[in-house]
């Protein structure tokens, strides 16, 4: 509860803002005064009343059975979904075979040369190094599998995203329809996407690719629409004044003008696709994610690291190269660009052919460095020495235990003890204070839907973990952000760390926390905190640094101490950024708390894992829907009225 009330206070400072807030709360109190006694009289129980739930597991179970029985006979599957599935399998296979045919030297060479042309020498070396590292860790084939899956998923995501983005960018009506949908999809945890596709396509690569597409296409669509809509009006008018047709305008002006957004969209789509491709190993994506998943199943931190490092390297390389390509836009192209491209291609082809001729396509077995054993020894030492019984500070397991007993348990029990209508009321109040009555309505309906689905208790359990994790994240994040904003040196030190942490797929965080904190809700919370922290720190730092220097100068000229400057000028002026940080923190934390079901986090995440594991899609889908509602509610409750463009999740 601590965070929620803190947020509420922040949004209602004394003065002008207090009035509308007070008005909204008064109106809400009025509505509540009428409805609550009614509700309480009829269904007076702490938890969500059974009379108000709808049991959907029966119909869902029947649907799932029907699909499994008819998957090989019904025309819908034979003539449509079967083709989709086939197309995915064929394209992934084609890319995979192509990658294998080019060989390890060829793939490394081609990727490095592409990186050189679009992003410069340093990144080219980095790319080559990353690929070689994948090979050295003995992960060449899984890396290629993940890469093949990514290539197809990203291509389809970009295509779908661009089509949707074009529709939204060119037509106002489509924009009004699509925007809320895309905005909402952006905040949903990756895990929620897995079940519906599994229901239709079964476990395997097609389901993994389609889940990835559904997860990764929205940023592309949003940014395409943003780019098209944000184009300089006068340029478009100028182009029109020269007598262009609509198609000429689109191809020669609108799309090129949106290049920056398109590249940013590509960058985000790639990052999200990678993140999802890894998580999708739960539904049979194979590749690196599967190795992490297998290692996770046996808490083999060393093996997990060997598969996790290539993921991180891939993520960092892809992010940097597409990012650098975006940053290079608008610069004068280097002289002889075309010749250099040709040379690069020729060199790449030569490397590939050389590999082919010398029959060195597969990564040589002898060139593998086993890091699993030393890492496991280190982890073993850590669990032996840090895990518990450390004098004075206690071991990590003791911390986890104490955190569970003193923070998570009271929070969960408190939430579950609260009468259901009061939870709805709090949600409505927060959402209304921070947004409009529409946001309040959405948030409250989402919360009520959770109750109707009959997963009130596990959802509140998840919520308690989210709240605890958000509280820790904000505490640490704001403190670090303030420190980074006030000291250039701290920021310089932090930046590369944040960069790396921000590009890592959610899955990777699960391994170290299990090693440190054991199993349960505490490690899930820890993973969530680590995952959400970079974004919060970054937004806070930026917000504080972008405070109008004139205002700061004025404060200094009046003799304010640096503490006074921070409290009285920087923090109030950076309020929108801080609110955004809260919103981001909540959304990112939720995503990982759900995945925490894999390490004993329980609640909704466990239900999804259970649904997947037992083929009990009814349980899983209900939990997935509850996650969606929870995400929607949390986003609305923390969403400042104006949403900004942002990175990630």
């Amino acid at each position: 509860m601590a965070t929620l009330t803190a947020t509420a206070e922040k949004t209602s400072p004394p003065g002008i803002r207090a009035n509308p807030t007070a008005r909204k709360l008064a109106a809400l109190a009025l509505v509540a005064a009428v409805l609550v006694p009614l509700a309480a009289a009829r269904w007076s129980s702490g938890t969500w009343p059974g009379a108000l739930t709808v049991d959907v597991s029966g119909p869902l179970g029947r649907t799932s059975d029907w699909i499994i029985d008819n998957r090989d006979s019904h025309p819908l599957f034979l003539h449509f979904l079967g083709h989709v599935s086939n197309a995915v399998v064929i394209s992934v296979r084609a890319v995979y075979l192509a990658l294998l045919a080019v060989g390890w030297a060829g793939v490394t060479g081609v990727c490095a040369l592409v990186a050189w042309r679009v992003a410069g020498v340093r990144l080219a070396l980095g790319t080559a190094g990353a690929f070689l590292a994948c090979g050295l860790l003995g992960m060449w084939v899984p890396t290629m599998q993940t890469l093949a899956l990514m290539v197809v998923a990203v291509a389809v995501s970009v295509l779908v995203g661009m089509v949707l983005g074009l529709a939204a960018g060119l037509s106002g009506r489509m924009d009004r329809i699509l925007r809320p949908v895309l905005d909402t999809m952006q905040v949903l945890p990756a895990f929620a996407y897995l079940l519906p596709v599994v229901l239709v396509f079964g476990i395997g690569v097609p389901a993994a690719v389609l889940a990835t597409v559904v997860y990764a296409a929205p940023p592309m669509a949003r940014l395409t629409a943003l780019g098209l809509r944000g184009a300089d009006k006068e340029v478009l008018e100028a182009v029109e004044s020269l007598g262009t047709t609509a198609r000429q305008r689109l191809l020669t002006a609108r799309l090129p003008l949106a290049r920056r957004e398109l590249l940013l969209g590509l960058n985000q789509t790639i990052m999200m696709a990678l993140s999802m491709a890894v998580i999708a190993s739960v539904i049979g994506a194979g590749g690196l994610g599967d190795r992490v998943y297998q290692a996770l199943a046996s808490v083999d931190v060393g093996a997990a690291l060997a598969a996790g490092v290539p993921i991180v390297l891939l993520a960092v390389v892809l992010d940097r190269v597409t990012g650098a390509a975006g940053a290079r836009l608008g610069q004068e192209p280097a002289p002889h660009a075309r010749a250099l491209w040709a040379a690069a291609l020729a060199a790449a082809a030569a490397v590939a052919v050389a590999g082919r001729l010398t029959d060195r396509l597969e990564w040589p077995d002898g060139w593998v460095v086993g890091i699993a054993e030393p890492v496991n020894r280190a982890v073993g030492w850590m669990t032996d020495h840090l895990y518990s019984g450390v004098p004075v500070v206690g071991g990590t397991a003791d911390w986890a235990g104490r955190f569970t007993t003193w923070v998570l348990d009271p929070l969960r029990d408190g939430l579950q003890w609260l009468p259901w209508w009061s939870v709805l009321l709090v949600v409505a109040g927060l959402a209304w204070v921070i947004g409009t009555w529409r946001t309040a309505l959405t948030a409250t309906s989402a919360m009520a839907a959770i109750g109707v689905l009959g997963v009130w208790k596990p959802s509140l359990d998840t919520l308690s973990q989210v709240l605890a994790a958000v509280a820790v994240t904000l505490l640490v994040g704001f403190a670090t952000g303030v420190a980074a904003a006030r000291s250039d040196r701290v920021e310089r030190l932090l930046r590369p760390v944040l960069d790396v942490f921000q590009t890592m797929p959610q899955f990777v965080y699960l391994i170290p926390v299990v090693a440190l904190f054991g199993v349960g809700r505490a490690p899930a919370v820890a993973a969530a905190v680590v995952y959400a922290l970079p974004a919060v720190v970054r937004i806070t730092t930026q917000g504080l640094r972008q405070v109008d220097p004139a205002a700061l100068e004025a404060a200094r000229s009046l003799g304010a101490t640096s503490g006074q400057q921070l409290r009285q000028v920087q923090l109030p002026l950076a309020r929108p950024a801080l609110l955004l940080a809260v919103n981001q923190g909540v959304v990112l934390v939720l995503a990982v708390v759900i995945i925490g079901g894999l390490v004993g986090g329980g609640a909704l995440g466990y239900d999804v894992v259970f649904g997947l594991a037992q083929g009990d899609l009814a349980t899983g889908l209900v939990a997935g829907a509850a996650i969606v509602c929870l995400g929607l509610m949390l986003d609305r409750v923390t969403q400042p009225t104006e949403r900004r463009a942002r990175k990630g999740a």
């Binding site: 300089d232 006068e234 100028a238 029109e240 020269l242 007598g243 090129p256 003008l257």
Partner: protein, 395 residues
């Protein structure tokens, strides 16, 4: 609002009549309803929720002239120029280009108009940032489907004409504001349009660069004689470039005439207030101040000036000569000016009712060009502060 012009030669390039552009819900009903059409902007807005950006405007643009539309921001001048090629769809009225009804054109015809007959230069240049200077200039030709080599060759010529040689391969982001607007100008010129439309092309530029660009336009006009429609909020610019000026306020044309008419005989108090600070001696010609020669000796001797010389030039001549000077039209003396009459002009005393006005108003294109040629150097001098202060009082 008066259209003083009589058609000079043939059909006008643009003939605009009864043009309306109303923004807002059910905008169509406003022009047709006399009661609504008569409302002032604030009332119209509160009654209908509509804003009339252009209200019942009519004018002709003659071949070869520089037609300036001038007004403060919000006066509807930019909307007006966009209506000419239907970048903004007019609500009511007629527009004809060379006698052809623009509003009746279908999509293909309209594109042909935009491609070949009227090209526009924009305030913020409207350049494509991802293309080089050369490709920006060639863009209009590319749209028309011209081959790569041919259009580049043509574009290179135009780039040279606007003085950007050597910058062909740069990107717009690497150019200064003035250079960018030269690219914008070159892009418009490259398609060899019949009319050039300028929408406040220089208001985003620094004063010195603005002056250079104005000279550039004057030069181009002198060399090519292309018809131009020029939108500006800068009175100095309007007076310097315009053969004729339409002064707009709240969507209406409040006065249309030569610079001399606008400055010499403002149609109403609004125009008068507008032109109050103009250095009159640089706009008005000696016709305003001349009187018939008192004696035949006066008509036969002494230095002479052209009838379209500015008062300021005449003052220079008078002060050099020490006596009155003759106004010579083709060697024939049409009158004389003396120091007192000239000073009266400067002081704003002689404003209206000058007999020779009608001639000046009908000023042929040759006269306009000549006057501009004369005015250009005069512009470089700083306006004399003294007349400005005396003209504080309303005339």
């Amino acid at each position: 609002m008066t259209t003083t012009a009589t058609p000079a030669t043939g059909t006008p390039v643009f003939a605009v009549d009864g043009l309306w552009k109303v923004f807002g819900p059910k905008a169509d009903r406003v022009p047709g309803d006399p009661a609504l059409a008569a409302l002032d902007p604030a009332e119209l807005r509160s009654r209908t929720g509509c804003t009339a950006a252009v209200r019942d405007v009519g004018f002709d643009v003659r071949k070869g002239e520089v037609f300036v539309v001038m007004g403060l921001s919000g006066s509807g001048k930019s909307t007006l120029v966009r209506c000419l090629t239907r970048l903004i769809e007019p609500t009511a009225g007629t527009i004809a280009i060379d006698g052809e009804d623009v509003r009746a054109m279908d999509g293909a015809r309209l594109r042909a108009l935009r491609r070949h007959r009227a090209a526009m230069v924009f305030q913020h240049f409207g350049l494509l940032p991802h293309r080089t200077v050369l490709d920006n200039v060639a863009y209009g030709l590319e749209i028309q489907g011209m081959g790569r080599a041919e259009r580049r060759e043509k574009a290179a010529e135009v780039v040279a004409k606007v003085g950007l040689e050597g910058m062909e391969q740069r990107r717009p982001a690497q150019l200064s504001g003035g250079q960018r607007q030269r690219v914008g100008l070159a892009r418009a010129l490259a398609v060899d349009p019949e009319v050039l439309l300028f929408d406040e092309p220089f208001s985003a530029l620094d004063p010195l660069i603005r002056r250079d660009m104005q000279e550039e336009v004057v030069r181009l006009h002198r060399e090519e004689g292309r018809t131009m429609v020029f939108i500006t909020h800068d009175l100095q610019e309007a007076l310097k470039l315009g053969d004729r000026i339409a002064l707009m306020r709240d969507g209406r044309v409040v006065q249309l005439g030569t610079p001399e008419e606008i400055v010499g005989s403002p149609a109403d108090d609004y125009v008068r207030a507008f032109v109050r600070d103009v250095p009159r001696e640089q706009v008005l010609t000696v016709r305003t101040a001349m009187r018939p020669a008192a004696t035949s000796e006066e008509a036969a001797t002494g230095p002479g000036v052209r009838p379209d010389a500015t008062v300021s030039e005449a003052i220079e001549a008078v002060s050099r000569a020490g006596t009155s000077v003759r106004v010579l039209d083709d060697g024939r003396c049409v009158g004389v000016v003396d120091a007192a009459a000239l000073l009266n002009v400067v002081a704003g005393e002689v404003a209206t009712g000058v007999g020779s006005h009608a001639d000046a108003a009908a000023g042929s294109r040759a006269a306009g060009a000549a006057r501009m040629g004369a005015a250009a150097p005069a512009e470089r001098r700083e306006p004399d502060p003294a007349p400005a202060t005396t003209s504080e009082e309303p005339v």
